[in-house]
Symmetry: D2
Subunit: 347 residues, 4 copies
Amino acid sequence: MIIIMERNATLENVQAVTNLLESHGFKVLVHTGEIYTVINALGDKTTLSANRIEALDGVKQIKFIREPFRLASRDRQSEDTVIEFENGVKIGGANRPVFMVGPCSVEDYDGLLQVAKAAKELGCQFLRGGAFKPRTSPYDFDGLGEVALKYLADAKKETGLLVVTELMDSSDLDMVCEYADIIQIGARNMQNFKLLKAVGKCSKPVILKRGAASTIKEFLLAAEHIMYNGNEKVILCERGLKSFDNSYTRNLLDISAIPVIKKYSHLPIIVDPSHGTGQRYLIEPMAKAGLVAGADGVMVEVHHNPACALSDGKQSLSIEQFKQVFAKLNRLIDTLHLENTVSEFCE
Amino acid sequence: MIIIMERNATLENVQAVTNLLESHGFKVLVHTGEIYTVINALGDKTTLSANRIEALDGVKQIKFIREPFRLASRDRQSEDTVIEFENGVKIGGANRPVFMVGPCSVEDYDGLLQVAKAAKELGCQFLRGGAFKPRTSPYDFDGLGEVALKYLADAKKETGLLVVTELMDSSDLDMVCEYADIIQIGARNMQNFKLLKAVGKCSKPVILKRGAASTIKEFLLAAEHIMYNGNEKVILCERGLKSFDNSYTRNLLDISAIPVIKKYSHLPIIVDPSHGTGQRYLIEPMAKAGLVAGADGVMVEVHHNPACALSDGKQSLSIEQFKQVFAKLNRLIDTLHLENTVSEFCE
Amino acid sequence: MIIIMERNATLENVQAVTNLLESHGFKVLVHTGEIYTVINALGDKTTLSANRIEALDGVKQIKFIREPFRLASRDRQSEDTVIEFENGVKIGGANRPVFMVGPCSVEDYDGLLQVAKAAKELGCQFLRGGAFKPRTSPYDFDGLGEVALKYLADAKKETGLLVVTELMDSSDLDMVCEYADIIQIGARNMQNFKLLKAVGKCSKPVILKRGAASTIKEFLLAAEHIMYNGNEKVILCERGLKSFDNSYTRNLLDISAIPVIKKYSHLPIIVDPSHGTGQRYLIEPMAKAGLVAGADGVMVEVHHNPACALSDGKQSLSIEQFKQVFAKLNRLIDTLHLENTVSEFCE
Amino acid sequence: MIIIMERNATLENVQAVTNLLESHGFKVLVHTGEIYTVINALGDKTTLSANRIEALDGVKQIKFIREPFRLASRDRQSEDTVIEFENGVKIGGANRPVFMVGPCSVEDYDGLLQVAKAAKELGCQFLRGGAFKPRTSPYDFDGLGEVALKYLADAKKETGLLVVTELMDSSDLDMVCEYADIIQIGARNMQNFKLLKAVGKCSKPVILKRGAASTIKEFLLAAEHIMYNGNEKVILCERGLKSFDNSYTRNLLDISAIPVIKKYSHLPIIVDPSHGTGQRYLIEPMAKAGLVAGADGVMVEVHHNPACALSDGKQSLSIEQFKQVFAKLNRLIDTLHLENTVSEFCE
């Protein structure tokens, strides 16, 4: 940790910082330049909150050397985390990218089953569908609740697909755990710390979606909340950021976040081009972009009849369209042996 | 509602949109230009989700004429909402701006009481303090919980100040209601819809903080969630946005949001220059800016010893500093009769 | 064009808008809803500036149906623009993506020639290098000027590579035209309209880089400035946007802009992963992402000795590194027949 | 300057950095922590570009201690710069805030004179008006050119107001200098370094508008370009930033930039609430906000007939409206003795 003092900081100010640091076991070195004084502190940051230092008089800025996330960091674990499911499906590492497919919200069993059967036949591994839907407006459809969870479980029984569904409130945790193989935390809840704590205490893998205005650091610190509470099976998901340009896309999908996170964290990361763009015609090119950039999986909204979807129809593929897209993505995966694409000189 | 069709939309596409609209009671008018076809629909949007229309083939874009928020809108209620408390304090309308003062997190009773007594003496109306603190990192102090609520209640008994504190999880609602006069929903929870629903069903006034990357529309729709569930006593709070420049400030305080929201909504709005800037020296100028722009109150972090604060010390004023700032803000309020500053031609 | 009137607009306000529109030859239709009045205007927007309408009393908002760019639009020209060079190289349409390779700034002839020879041998088509460099700080190296242009011309003579270089001021246009095969307009000058006008009047193809905070509309309107002045040989270049997160990357490369622009414009578009990320290790994955998303070419910074580069060394590949990356990108292009990847249902 | 090395940096990497720094006269101190090595370098950064260091292998990040701008910094000059004009008008320091008033673009002499006379009568000091207008679309009115400059000069002769007008191209510099008392550089040209150099070599004061996506550092470095070329009479102007929310305002006016810049630079700064919001009804509250935050002046668009303005009518006040607003702003200035509002503890 490096503390930069204000131009007009006094010797007393510097001493106060030094004292605080030393009282927490830091080794301290002070450099006084022509204009600014800089304090180097070597020690374990988790024992002393930066807020304490910042609040001292004369402190201009604190610069951290180590990343603030620890459990999620490659500094702690250099090999990729691989998450394995009961049926042998694996996410992360050198494993082939997985596909998570299904409607935005579960609306009826027949439609859901059509999608699930098609997905299974193609070789997808996961069925996704919302039972509880966060909606910006209170006037919009917000999901069928437990009925939807039962439909998902039935479709799993029928097809063998694993189930991914969103948890919105800690009070529903037990219910969702009963039906889901992966619990999804939505982008709007990425910093709902009570919810992160709750899923941190359960044993199911968690998909954590990046908040629409979250930095990569905040994203990995949100994962850290889950891991810190005991659950290390976290799958990250890039799903697009707020930007100043939303004329043509709903969000700005941050493809570069995938290789950046691969460098700094051992956790798997998947890409969601449906929410990431909000446009059907962009799902194919952006799924490809995510895959060549290193994504461990793709989450796509597929609806048996997008024109009648109660939510997100505009960014859903029909079953027929998905078949076409899937074939192309699969060919891309086959040919490129994507798992080996990171160049040696990158590290 | 106006539906703009794609350049290559077919007559069948147009007909499908028309049919859907008419089946929901809309009056429909179709205009076919040289290149694009435009469909005008007059009717009640709440009966038909825009998602349904967007998902139809050939639809390029939907343009809403009415604001999507209803209960929060000036279209519904032209006079300002005024929220009144047991002791006669009022927020909103032509009432004098209020002050909400206190530490970021409640740490000990003595310090809290020092701040509360000073605030009361100056004429402030509210004591703010966190019992549950959302923290980006799991390694940071996250509040004393119920003990802090009790300290706040004791300080209220001692000084008569009303209590504002944050609720982070719906399971704590009853506990927080027992101690608080205003329940605060933090910026990170602005779209935690389960939490909005929960406070919507209780009778206490709610301060809703604007999410760091929320549009004004999303902000008012979050208020709408609370109102739709039965609680119309919503106080909005502008507390700064994420921006591409965070070298000198933690957030970018959106002062213009205050007069914009005053134009489109009847709800009161306050300003938080502490979180809004993250810098002690910016509290005074930005509190002033908020007040002259029409804010109904100011929320400021004041700590009895900022250099020892466990959170947000850098953006807290000491009691002595607050006295100086308060005097200047008060003089500004006195002189300008702020409540009358909106020009006639603005409407 | 649709004009939405304010809630409290008067009949006179509506009449004034109608009169203005009709006096410019628009066909006008007025719809009066319960709360808002909407005016539909059919006609040629270029004859009447929107500013004129907006300024009338009672006008809330104007919604354009047609895209504001005309010459750059697919509405005008459905087939892709292909730009052909003297030596038969082509950019755009179904042609194989091109490579533009070289140092950020030209520093000495020997180093430049090393890069050029390696690039030629691999099969690249263009040599890029800056003679005039825009620098955020006046204390940084800003290019060798005409000497650098001569070096580029010499390297062209030696290798046959076509030359791409940036023009920063209209007064240098003739000089740059003498040496360059493509004139580059940098991101910071994307809305330097005098410069756009100048290159619009010359006959050389132009690479127009997207401004770091420019919307896609503004980007295409900047291209429109060049085309409107007579030069239709415009190649767009996505090179990354400003974002709230610059801890790990210099810019946020907007990969989705590529397929979006392909849908709305016939102009070719290339991707610059060097400036787009600012990180050497991200060049490969982001070049791949750009290519699978439909880019017509890749611009990469390659330096004979990045550790000694006077500018942008951190985002430059060495010649050896570029050979490795190029091989992978080329294999990606070979296998996928990228030109055919846009699905039929996307239109 | 502090250089943070990558986790896996070798001793050779550290040595290479040390050698480079020492060869440029820096004093170097190396600290090796458990995971990361940090290098402290004391010396004059202007002798060695950061790019050179960044490009070395194993360098993770460079942290600057001193602000990169020098001439514009308070570190160099602690007292405020005050710019004085021939007629005794002064901008900056403890002087009363000035008003710059006039139409977005000069359209005809009669209208201009009406505005100028009214402004003079009220006590404004400057007449502003565009002769050359940057326009996003090539189809919009882009100014009358030299004719407009003559109208401005005539209005000056008639009223005594000083003239502010924009320069868009260095080739027009002499012409503009002949007529203008202040040369304005527009937001889109903030990083047009050739233009900055050109005005840096002339003797007229310059208003430099902040780019819509420029950080405060980039803004002050753009000022540095002008000063470095010899012209220290720079007046900064905050005029609003691009943001993710443009439903209600054209830009997001960054009021906090005013006190931040006052802290770090000695240059005067004014506020432009017309461009900063794009909405007539927001001019008054945002001008007030700028003034209480410390602005040295206000630039406002005033048109003799906004409903007929060829550009920016929506954000222009009529003469009558301006009179009302001016009276209120003036009262605010009178009462508050704004020049004395910065608290002692802020430094």
